[in-house]
């Protein structure tokens, strides 16, 4: 298999460990005087966007940052709970850059680019250094050093964390760096602005059309380069752990203007989320993977067992992850844990009212912690109650905010009875295809963080999203953008009355007018929920060819209906949240179709993409490395028309093997 001629990944030559160092030292530079006249647009203010904008501004570029929320600090990176990986080996447990690289490739089921992942591992340590220097309050040991915890798919402790709010603390660190540049005038911040389209001139990306969400005014913004740091598209499923506003619009508009979309079907379903409680549900809440450090997952051995969890004796419980995967136990990667939960529930062993949940139980570890604590306190022969009380205190310190969150939502006390959990859409490994420089197939248009097709292959390991977002923003783009911008120093700022801007704005205006003029009978949410159901049922945790084909037909039908019957109240020239949603859902519908097409064409199972036709006798994902060891990059060719381009994945340092966590 050869890569498509349209895809040049620009991976530097040389040995894996030397590629990045050598590239970084030889990539073209832009001198400080020229940086001042080069303008960079950053769309999105999450970990990738805020860190990139702050760093580029520090370097001297003129930066504009756009976010649809009221403040850059609201970006959904803030909700990441568990932690951020880094190959620091502070725990002296044999960690190394190579091991993080290896774990990530393996965790991604051998569908990621070696060079990118190795670079990610190399800079992972710098991220921790940078964040600590900014004052990010990571958890610490009594000696004052940084503390680590374990995450799924690894056997070392390399995850740095700040209670259950690591994403928040990292984002606020990046946000403060960004605000520092805003205060100094190096960054212009445009909050409550949504990117509506990219503007290409002579084959290069030269700016965006944005809508001021408060006044409804359309604005044209020029940039020598545009960075999309707009996150993932999990909300295509309607219900996901993403924020309500998370959307694919920026990436999708870029796709329609020439950026190829990579591996759209790779979706991560997170195993530990709070189950759906009814059809009013607007979003799902994650319970951090870190809980799997201390929680044991089980279902009753008997079908339709309606006893209360605490009444089910130990020998009638099936700790199915420990049974199936003794080496990794409850800490298998997310895709494996999710499928195993689905398998048990489908087989009739599910718990709770809906029977679509499994237990995550802390009793055993609470007792273990209680005993340790009793020893520390020098209590001899403590009573069982005493041990449990002490254990609960320890658990509370580690996971208090998560337990409170669970109780708030379910009205059940996880200190007293096991949590009920079920998998939910959480992250999308797919995204805009980018080369080693993080540039899409449109020159000057970059994608960072979750928005690109990324370094996670077909499945992302826990605590690696934060790592990738910050790596891209702090340590990759500041260097790689020089490769492009050094060629642009002679390009003067293009006036926004250029016809490309005028045309792009007119198209956006036309679409807004269209949406408002349909005046149909169904709300935007109605269509979004229907799309979500199609996607979840047929392109969710398990997929098959027949279902995907049906889904494609249904989505095309839904799209038609949407454009004939959606009702968007209000006007264009005001804060109109329904209009915002309508734009996003229209794009989700189109993306949904591409996801199904991608899932249908990939006749193998890998990571988050599980095709029922392709599994081992014991139900594990069955890859087809001979035919599918490539990145599927889709080119937009007009309505419902997508052309597949392949980027071959060459593994020169890691031997492809069946993933084994048993």
């Amino acid at each position: 298999m050869a890569s498509s001629s349209k895809l040049n990944a620009r991976i530097p030559e040389g040995k894996l460990e030397e590629k990045w160092t050598k590239y970084r030292s030889t990539v073209h530079l832009v001198n400080p005087a020229n940086k001042r006249s080069l303008e960079v647009i950053v769309v999105g203010s999450g970990l990738a966007g805020a860190s990139a904008a702050a760093t580029l501004a520090e370097m001297g570029y003129k930066v504009k940052v756009f976010c649809f929320q009221d403040s850059p600090r609201r970006a959904h990176s803030i909700a990441a709970q568990g932690g951020v990986n880094a190959a620091k080996n502070y725990q002296n447990d044999g960690d190394s850059v190579y091991r993080l690289f290896y774990d990530t490739i393996k965790g991604g089921d051998y569908r990621a680019r070696e060079a990118n992942v190795h670079r990610l591992s190399e800079v992972s340590g710098n991220i921790i250094d940078q964040c600590v220097a900014q004052g990010v309050p990571f958890a610490r040991e009594y000696g004052g050093t940084l503390s680590n915890r374990s995450f799924g798919g690894t056997q070392v402790q390399r995850t740095f964390y700040a209670a259950g709010q690591t994403g928040q603390q990292l984002l606020l660190g990046a946000y403060s760096a960004l605000q520092r540049q805003v205060g100094m005038g190096a960054v212009q911040l445009l909050a409550r602005h949504e990117m509506m389209d990219v503007v290409n001139i002579d084959g290069k990306c030269r700016g965006i059309i944005a809508r001021d969400l408060v006044t409804g005014k359309l604005e044209r913004h020029f940039g020598h380069a545009v960075l999309l740091c707009t996150g993932g598209y999990g909300n295509v499923f309607f219900l996901s752990t993403n924020a309500m506003g998370s959307n694919v619009t920026a990436a999708w508009k870029a796709h329609k203007k020439g950026a190829f979309f990579g591996n759209p079907c790779y979706t991560q379903i997170h195993p530990t989320c709070i189950p759906v409680s009814g059809d009013h549900q607007s979003k799902l809440t994650l319970m951090s993977e870190s809980l799997r450090n201390d929680g044991r997952i089980w279902v009753p051995k008997k079908k339709d067992d309606n006893r209360k969890p605490n009444d089910i004796p130990e020998d009638e419980r099936d700790y199915y992850l420990e049974r199936r995967y003794p080496a990794f136990g409850n800490l298998v990667p997310r895709d494996v844990a999710s499928r195993a939960a689905k398998e048990r529930c489908d087989a009739g062993y599910g718990v709770g009212a809906s029977k679509m949940a499994v237990y995550l139980d802390f009793a055993a570890n609470t007792e273990r912690y209680g005993k340790i604590q009793a020893n520390k306190l020098g209590l001899h022969n403590p009573s069982k109650e005493e041990i449990i009380r002490l254990g609960k205190e320890v658990v509370k310190e580690k996971y208090g905010n998560l337990f409170d969150m669970y109780k708030q939502i379910t009205d059940e006390d996880p200190y007293e009875m096991p949590m009920r959990i079920y998998p939910a859409v959480h992250y999308t490994m797919g995204g805009l295809w980018v080369d080693y420089n993080l540039m899409t197939t449109v020159p000057g248009l970059y994608a960072l963080g979750e928005a690109n097709f990324s370094d996670h292959g077909a499945n992302r390991l826990g605590a690696s999203a934060l790592m990738q977002g910050l790596a891209d923003g702090y340590f990759v783009i500041p260097y790689t953008i020089g490769d492009y911008l050094s060629e642009e120093i002679r390009t003067k700022a293009i006036p926004t009355d250029n016809e490309a801007f005028v045309k792009a704005e007119a198209e956006v205006q036309e679409r807004i007018t269209k949406l408002l003029s349909i005046k149909g009978t169904k709300s935007v949410d109605h269509f979004h929920k229907r799309l979500g159901k199609i996607m979840w049922d047929k392109c969710g945790m398990a997929r098959n060819a027949q279902g995907l084909q049906t889904a494609i037909t249904e989505i095309q039908q839904l799209k038609k209906e949407f454009w004939e019957n959606v009702r968007v109240p209000g006007d264009a020239n005001e804060l109109n949240t329904e209009l915002e949603k309508a734009h996003r859902v229209a794009d989700f519908i189109e993306l949904g179709e591409l996801m199904c097409k991608d899932a249908l064409h990939r006749n193998e199972s890998c990571g988050g993409h599980f095709r029922e036709e392709y599994q081992t006798p014991d139900g594990e994902a069955l890859r087809d490395d001979d035919n599918f060891a490539y990145v599927a990059a889709w080119e937009y060719k007009g309505e419902s028309q997508f052309e597949l381009h392949k980027e071959e994945l060459k593994y020169e340092n890691i031997k492809l093997a069946q993933r084994n966590y048993a």
């Binding site: 009221d70 220097a133 924020a243 409680s277 340590f475």
Partner: protein, 256 residues
């Protein structure tokens, strides 16, 4: 579509934009389930309004899990509603009774002008952070993270202050619309850590100056902010900021 059996009357502030006058509108929320979140109840009402051809109620929200800080409703006289330690999106309808009348207002402060209905402009908070809520360290300047040892208690306390989500409930709750809890949380976080020492005097002076310029009121230590803060940010932070500010004012050896 019915979800449950609670029926409620909502009195909600409606205001077209920042330049027009607002008023209260009354809505009926029917078939509400106690398992819904407060915002999901609003979703149901809005869906109803759209189906009836009326304009839905605008409100800010995003993550719906209590961490982004975007949701901001003043419910029956309290920011984020009747329960403590949570945001509006974490408030569930089981905290209300069938037949209740619920009054919902936007945050009220000169520094938080209403944009539309229940949505307010909190960019003043961003400007306060831009005035000094950071450590001036460019990317690439950092030394190995474990070279900075930090006492665990200090690190924990800094974390507790840093847990602020910038929602503005403190300002909304304060009878004086004071932003002291928000500002002091950031000042404290960085004052407690060795990384923040170098700039601590300028930081507190500049942030307080910006806070005053934004038009927030003066703190009178009623403690309402702490009681209503969804992240339980402590009043101790305000005392620490007062101390830092006085020390900076008296001790700073330069003329500005």
């Amino acid at each position: 579509m019915s979800h449950g059996n609670m029926n409620l009357t909502l009195k909600v502030w409606k205001q077209k934009n920042k330049d027009t006058k607002g008023r209260f509108e009354t809505y009926q929320a029917k078939g509400i389930s106690p398992d819904m979140s407060f915002l999901e109840m609003f979703d149901v009402v809005n869906e109803q309004l759209i189906n009836e051809g009326k304009e839905p109620i605008a409100f800010d929200h995003d993550c719906r899990e209590g961490i982004c800080g975007m949701c901001s409703m003043y419910i029956n006289g309290r920011p984020h509603g009747p329960k403590q330690g949570i945001t509006t999106c974490q408030l569930h309808m089981r905290s209300f009774k069938d037949g209740d009348t619920i009054v919902v207002e936007p945050w009220r402060s000169a520094a938080f002008p209403v944009i539309k209905d229940l949505a307010v402009d909190r960019s003043s908070f961003d400007r306060i952070i831009a005035a000094g809520g950071f450590v001036s360290v460019n990317t690439g300047n950092a030394k190995d993270a474990n070279n900075i040892l930090i006492n665990k208690d200090d690190a924990d306390e800094a974390f507790n202050a840093a847990a602020c989500i910038g929602c503005g409930a403190c300002v909304a709750a304060c009878k004086n619309s004071s932003a002291m809890l928000f500002v002091s949380a950031k000042v404290s976080q960085l004052a407690l850590l060795p990384q923040g020492q170098i700039e601590k005097q300028d930081r507190v002076l500049n942030m307080v100056k910006q806070m005053d310029e934004e038009g927030f009121g003066n703190c009178t230590n009623t403690g309402a902010c702490e009681a209503e803060c969804p992240k339980a940010i402590s009043l101790e932070n305000i005392a620490r900021m007062n101390r830092e500010y006085s020390l900076a004012t008296f001790a700073q050896n330069k003329i500005k």
